[in-house]
Subunit: 261 residues, 2 copies
């Protein structure tokens, strides 16, 4: 053992503290450093970057990871709330060396990053200057197989810890679902220019009143071989470095030229 | 009157269908075209880009704008949900020429765009290829004065309708709160590199259990005169063209060079 201080790793997610994906992530992180978990007490998928400002939040110690000797808390809040509570209450006196979120049960490639609670936890951390990575597995199953991604989760987090992240970015990591062959490697990618083509299903409740279910199909017309979608389809892990400056800098000149205001 | 077909304008917001800001927006839009409203039935501030995928949504006709002869619906969903319901249920047979969201009671400058329900409605529309603008007034008051922004809301929307928006962008428009002097003009800006420095206040409920309130202070170290924050502080309206490709393109090369994966 080296004498170097073990890194402090904050773990969160959006599937809730009892999900299989966060257990795998916590187990892997225990090999790299001291782990503290602050995660939602129930699933928060699709919560985007929601925060809770008009109602109070609950935060309680959780025994979920006591078998691993890991300090853990569950909160009534969203993933972004969990990061805020972690920073200002649980870790008020300490600064995590990295924040990891996931492993999400389901893909967060392409524009799904905008709807992703997993990524919003990572984004929230990055926005306050912390190193942060969101991990997702492209398998929605409650009991999805995560065994093929453990080594890569460890490797990617190790690289981030030792070499750092580009300033003002957050990593969106996606893994292909388990196949017979192992994952072929890791590609640094851009976000595919794809979209969800949603559908709305109208039903009637027992009292004759309408209600609606949202669902959708992911359509990707972007055939670029440098996209996260291409990587996943070809059995590579994808890493998209994301930024939270949403400014379309190229559009500023266009608007100044065309619009008369 | 010209014979040109009047544009179809879809209006939503995040403060809920009865907020003052959406009434002002609907009134102004009625001067420009045919208006349809689909908005949340209650306030949804801070909802980020949340969507509702694990529970059904309600959608009912609303009499709120009947005095203006405007077709309106309120939904139990988030702002992004409202846009999906509008596209696939209310306007299933028609395509809006533009989607406008707001006028938000409160600022959505800088990184607040990521937490903003107002902007998530606009973003959702833009992601499906529609022209979209989010409007916010930097005044949180329930009964804020919107009279000084009416002319500019009309002008900006008219320009967007007649000249179009740069591809794959959505406009984040903020107005300064009413002062004695009128707004000095409109600046096309970049998002200020600022952050919320939140605080967490711990209290105890009547049963002795802890609960927490999130609040925060906006800190802007970015002194650039091309930012939305600068514009608002100097009594200009700001327009930030935003994109939903979050890829930090400059970071791809850096990661390929530095990380060994």
């Amino acid at each position: 053992m080296s004498n170097k201080k073990r890194p402090l790793i904050l773990v969160s997610n959006d599937d809730g503290i009892t999900a299989k994906g966060i257990r795998v992530l916590v187990e892997v992180m225990c090999e790299l450093g001291e782990v503290v978990v602050v995660a939602p007490d129930s699933p928060q998928s699709g919560m985007g970057h929601a925060i809770t400002i008009h109602s109070p939040l609950k935060l309680f110690p959780s025994p979920v990871f006591s078998d691993l000797g890991v300090e853990a808390y569950h909160s009534s809040g969203t993933p972004a709330d969990c990061i805020k509570l972690a920073k200002h209450e649980v870790l008020a006196e300490r600064k995590p060396d990295i924040v990891v979120s996931g492993i999400n049960h389901g893909s967060n490639t392409s524009v799904s990053v905008l709807y992703s609670g997993t990524m919003s936890a990572a984004m929230e951390a990055a926005m306050s200057g912390l190193n942060a990575i969101g991990f997702s597995l492209c398998d929605y199953g409650h009991d999805a197989d995560f065994s093929h991604v453990r080594a890569l989760v460890k490797k990617i987090t190790s690289e981030a810890l030792s070499k750092g992240l580009p300033e003002a970015t957050v990593m969106n990591v996606n893994f292909p679902a388990a196949r017979e062959e192992p994952i072929l490697g890791v590609k640094i990618c851009r976000q595919a220019q794809a979209a969800w083509h949603e559908s709305v299903e109208k039903r009637e409740d027992p009292y004759g009143r309408p209600y609606y279910w949202l669902s959708g199909k992911f359509i990707n017309p972007d055939k670029g071989e440098d996209t996260d979608e291409w990587a996943i389809a070809h059995n590579y892990a994808s890493i998209v470095p994301c930024e939270f400056d949403l400014t379309a800098h190229h559009a500023i000149g266009v608007l100044n030229e065309k619009w008369e205001l």
